[in-house]
Amino acid sequence: MASPQPRIGVVTYPGSQDDRDALWALAALDAEAVPVWHEEAELPALDAVVLPGGFSYGDYLRCGAIARFSPATAAVRAFAERGGLVLGICNGFQILCEAGLLPGSLLRNASLRFVCRDVRLRVERADTPFTSRCEQGQTVVIPVKHGDGRYVPPPDLDPAQVVLRYRDNPNGSVEDIAGVCNEAGNVFGLMPHPEHAVDPLLGSADGALLLASLVEAARDRALAAA
């Protein structure tokens, strides 16, 4: 049976940098990648949305603090509240935290240094729409590149919301947390960049495990809706 290409949007804010890589990676993994401009107050018909990395609005005040008020973020919030799949990568993770769609906050790296290298991550949960291609306990290698990636959870964070942990913590994140999901499990954010790791030529293809999981989950939803 021919399976339809799920439509996955990638939001471009002023200062987004990794939107093109995200679009390219999703297309390479057989999704229809749809660019979404930050001024769009309504999303086109989508099966999932990605908020990419970068430095939206110059990271002024706090990372993600201004992007939270853009029209597209309001549309993404409504999409998430309807149960839509939302993935935030790096700056996208920071935006989702500032918007209250994910718990916690991301602060300056404990080293005060920008860190740009491959990191090893432990998959804590393989039962999410973003990690279904992984196995629980598996180690994946995905690059980070950020100056503000130190995750601080709220005091009441449910440990079940931790999806990824660093095996070699690059930024001082509390409890080595690298990625968290919301309580419902349809919104996920992580500091590492899976879209930069979808081809072995670039050092690792482990990022494709996460993005292919998302594409598959989005395809299931597209089929269910059809």
Partner: protein, 79 residues
């Protein structure tokens, strides 16, 4: 009315900038401890009186200027 908002990292939140400043001050020969680095936002607020201005700035802090999970804020009015 002029308003000044002081935003500080909350107690218990690691502040590596404060630690770096503290170490640098130590190199200069100053005996200091507990250095913390926050930020200052100066505003001109249109409000009838001080109470109204304070109420507005409180809302600004809660909605944008500070992140309550990691930061505390203090408002100074006048001028």
């Amino acid at each position: 009315m002029k308003a000044t908002v002081l935003v500080r990292p909350k107690a218990g939140i690691l502040d590596p900038q404060g630690d770096a400043v503290e170490r640098a001050l130590g190199h200069l020969g100053f005996a200091v401890s507990d250095a913390r680095v926050g930020k200052v936002v100066d505003l001109e607020v249109n409000a009838e009186d001080e109470a109204a201005a304070r109420a507005q700035v409180e809302k600004m802090c809660e909605q944008l200027l500070a992140n309550p999970l990691i930061e505390s804020y203090e408002i100074e009015l006048g001028g």
